[in-house]
Symmetry: C3
Subunit: 421 residues, 3 copies
């Protein structure tokens, strides 16, 4: 039998997989036997693999790649992220793995998938995998700064996951922009850069599952029952309000007789989950959650309508519009976290205060609310800085011929990567 | 930058959303910090948004509208239903919101989506939203009568949700019937009133997810572990038996050599979950659950085959056949609840009796089983009355030009509402 | 009204359903009121009905049959399996049904669906249902031998479910092989034996949901929190590693410039879940779980590439390639269970030892690790023997004209069984 190993382009990934295996053998042991009853794990799992995967199938001839690379990237990143995240919490050079740390790795992989959304159809498989490995390491460093150095509150990851992933992606996209500045020239396969009737329907599978389990995502890492319930309620209300707002606004900004635009429906409906993420466990009130959702829906639909075309002209392709779904709503959430940190009092929060803002103490020792607000600002600013700079550098590296960048005629096309029927 | 707000048709909904926000600010506070570990919430969530949404994608050119309006309606209704339901349980003019009350609002939104099923493709977006807002208020009133006044047992909501939603929808449908009585004339876009191969497959996503999580739906509001487990087991067995029965019968009533009909498979398989709903926490025995499922399957398939054509001739369009999936099986469940209430004894139920039949006491004080049976009958009769009358009046109002009814040529067609690829 | 019962082919199934009902009335009672908080039930439910159902929609014109028969078979088998399994555990001729026994019945139905995968498109509906009923009885007998007689460890069912289902299916397939040996002659509808772009996307719904909930499947029947968490972690890591390996290898063995093959992506990614199944609750170490996943991915992709064509030439059609997804990885898992049983010490496992290996005692009484290893071998060998012989005999019986075998021109075609749009 003659083995037909005709192509080696992904073989370095197998080497990386083997290195991961060896690192796990050396450093990883099973953690405590406490039954971490974290349902958020299974729900987040659905979001990562079904949610992100199917959301990105909206392109008419890129469904295989959307689903396939989403899966490939996430399966690699969860293993790698678990090591990168745990690196900062090792005890005697040992990493104790638990269901909770798996959940954290799942959440981290969302960062990479958001970046993938910006690059959908324009980056090659090898580029994506290279970017994913680098981004994971940088994002875990940033996460450590946000959580463990600045001790900022960011329970749903709107700062460290959504904002980071979006602006890292835009940074890469800008670095990868084609040399010819004219956007028309740079997208000859522009006829493939759009949906079909069927692909828009399969994209809704992803969108709706993301929407459904977003409350589980935002509440997965809460520390008490009260916090957990508040995170569920606030996220749910914000999403519902963003959805209503998105439908109304999509019809209003439409060019044709009030028709709805599937791009808004698939994406801006979710902006409510991002915008409430960093503050969903705080006392924002149910009405406040709805207000945040309304604001997120408006911000996101207007972003798709007015801002995305400008970014494209500027050379920043953002295929899924992650700036409108994750980026700007993520910044909004960061700003809200500054506001609600500044308003936080031990009177209002009682013994919950330390669970939400680690460095503020119920007895008044520890950080003041003003100080906490500054640290929230710092977390947002550092995240923006690291993600943009990191993205641009990573994108510049990814342009190297060894990563086989796509030709213009190969963009948005499964043909390059798949045996098609 | 010139804002292109070209169309205002949904803007009143944004006003309604803002009113909801204000009402939440004034009346709603976070409820107790007890961790209501209600997994039924997430599962029901999947049923509402994926289940109902995809089930209704079976029409070949109405998939966007099915998914979109399902989402739009449900996102609006959950916010509104939470207020309407809690209105009857306010303490000092404050509504305490919990994960459980979110679940109840989710369940209530099923009512509106069942009604949507009857009207699929024949009502405009503005009509649907108007109907949804009115129906939610009426259905919450009826729910209060059933649960808090009559104290009827209806754990899975087969009376107050399924029966109500179905007959409200048929009432609206009758009121909206076109003036020309000839059914052929009234449906010129009749060629769009049918499935494609692909749309029937996506509809199965909805159907199977509804089926899978129906045990969670029926058991979500049980009061004890024994009740919970019984509700799971009975619902599961009834669904399984209804499924087998549906396949056999669909083949038997077929016109062509025993071929199966996707309409039956997508819908009648679920009738077992409806028919067992009101009694699933009672001592109906495992064999009884299977018998109910067999009966529901027979009732539903025969309904599709023989009754739906007659209703259409009578001017009642029922696009999804909700009468066969929710209506008649819901009435069956109501009748079964009369039977099993009449058979209930404190000997048989022990200390569980009060958990299931609120007004019956283990020590014999409180309602007799005969009395409880009468109240079950009353709940069913009042539900039928309010839903039919309410539906007809709401439908008559929805015919007003302000709600932009569809022309015959616009029916079953996404073109009216969506920017299509 | 004249009833149009034109076809009776499935009516015996309704009789069987009625017999099941009677058996449930006689023998089944509700089990203890302990709230078995088994989320694995709902997750496994998704795997059985969405996972297996959609995975098999990859054929271009067999989607209705894949989803429909998957549902029909599973709904029948769960009822039947619950009786067959509980038969060996009756108390005073009474079967006590619980949420846990429903979960076990769900798991058992996977066996039949794996077999269905081998026969997809080549067996008629009546043949499939006949095979399912016989197979369930035999598989429950084998399960009883493995669990209760040999007391072998097989928590994820890789021996008793996956290996059994795969080789039973191959046995049936061999028995059903067409008389003319030339494979070309035997598959005239060969143009239907392949995917379309859309059907490959819907198949991914099934594949990814199977992948997502596999940790729940493997951990569903664990006995302690430590075991549960280990099963989750090991299954997850093995799946992730198998996924990465599958992508790399699929590209490497490709005929065309490193293109990926959807058959591998949909199936071999899951082999990691099977290969780790029997040992996922043991101390295999996180690195070990990754190693198993890598091995499973390699085994499965190479199986599809080199072995499946040979089996087809030998007359064994295996439409979904269950040998590569369930069969060989299942055997691998069985062999691993021999290895890890042989390595098990009371020092390493402590008080968990008895939970995992029922007959090994912490104090050294009971089976030695060598003995346990022999029983693991026995379980694997007996499973292979019973499944292959049982499959061949069942297949031979299923060839009888009463089960209406398909003509060659009817294979892989929904037209035979469904009213198509």
């Amino acid at each position: 039998m003659v083995y037909k190993f005709s192509n080696m382009k992904y073989v370095p990934l197998l080497v990386f997989q083997l290195i991961l295996m060896i690192l796990y053998f050396i450093f990883v042991r099973y953690g405590g036997d406490k039954h971490h009853d974290i349902r958020g794990f299974e729900d987040t799992h659905v979001m990562i693999f079904i949610g992100f995967g199917f959301l990105m199938t909206f392109l008419k001839k890129y469904c295989y790649s959307a689903l396939g690379f989403n899966w490939f990237l996430a399966a690699l990143v969860v293993q790698w992220a678990l090591l990168c995240q745990s690196f900062y919490h090792m005890e005697d050079n040992i990493i104790y793995i638990t269901k909770k740390s798996l959940l954290e790795a799942d959440i981290m992989s969302a960062t990479v998938l958001i970046t993938f959304g910006a690059l959908l159809g324009v980056a090659s498989g090898t580029q994506l995998l290279f970017i994913a490995i680098i981004e994971t390491a940088i994002a875990c460093l940033n996460m450590w700064l946000v959580s463990n150095v600045f001790k900022a509150a960011d329970v749903g990851g709107s700062i460290a996951i959504h904002t980071f992933g979006a602006y890292f992606g835009l940074g890469v996209s800008w670095a990868l922009r084609p040399r010819k500045a004219t956007p028309t020239d740079s997208t000859p396969s522009v006829d493939l850069n759009g949906p079909s009737y069927t692909s828009d329907v399969t994209a809704m599978i992803g969108s709706i599952f993301l929407w459904i389990y977003w409350p589980s995502f935002n509440s997965g890492l809460t520390n008490s029952n009260a916090e957990y319930q508040r995170a569920i309620i606030n996220t749910y209300l914000s999403l519902a309000a963003a959805t209503v707002t998105t439908f109304v606004l999509s019809s209003s900004v439409s060019k044709h007789a009030g028709k709805l635009d599937m791009v808004h429906i698939q994406n801006s409906t979710l902006a409510g989950g991002v915008a409430v993420g960093s503050v969903c466990n705080m006392h924002i009130s149910a009405g406040g959650a709805i207000a945040i959702g309304i604001g997120a829906g408006i911000l996101s639909v207007l972003g798709y309508t007015f801002l995305t075309p400008k970014l494209t002209n500027f050379g920043i392709i953002d295929t899924c519009g992650v700036n409108n779904l994750h980026g700007m709503p993520g910044i909004l959430s960061g700003l809200l976290s500054i506001l609600f940190a500044a308003l936080a009092t031990s009177h209002g929060y009682g013994k919950e205060l330390e669970g939400i803002f680690e460095e503020m103490k119920q007895d008044g020792t520890g950080r003041s609310s003003g100080n906490q607000a500054l640290y929230q600002l710092l977390a947002l600013a550092v995240t923006l800085g690291i993600s943009i700079v990191g993205g641009i550098i990573t994108g510049a590296l990814a342009k190297m011929p060894v990563f086989v960048p796509l030709k213009d005629t190969e963009k948005y096309d499964d043909e390059v990567n798949w045996e098609l029927p």
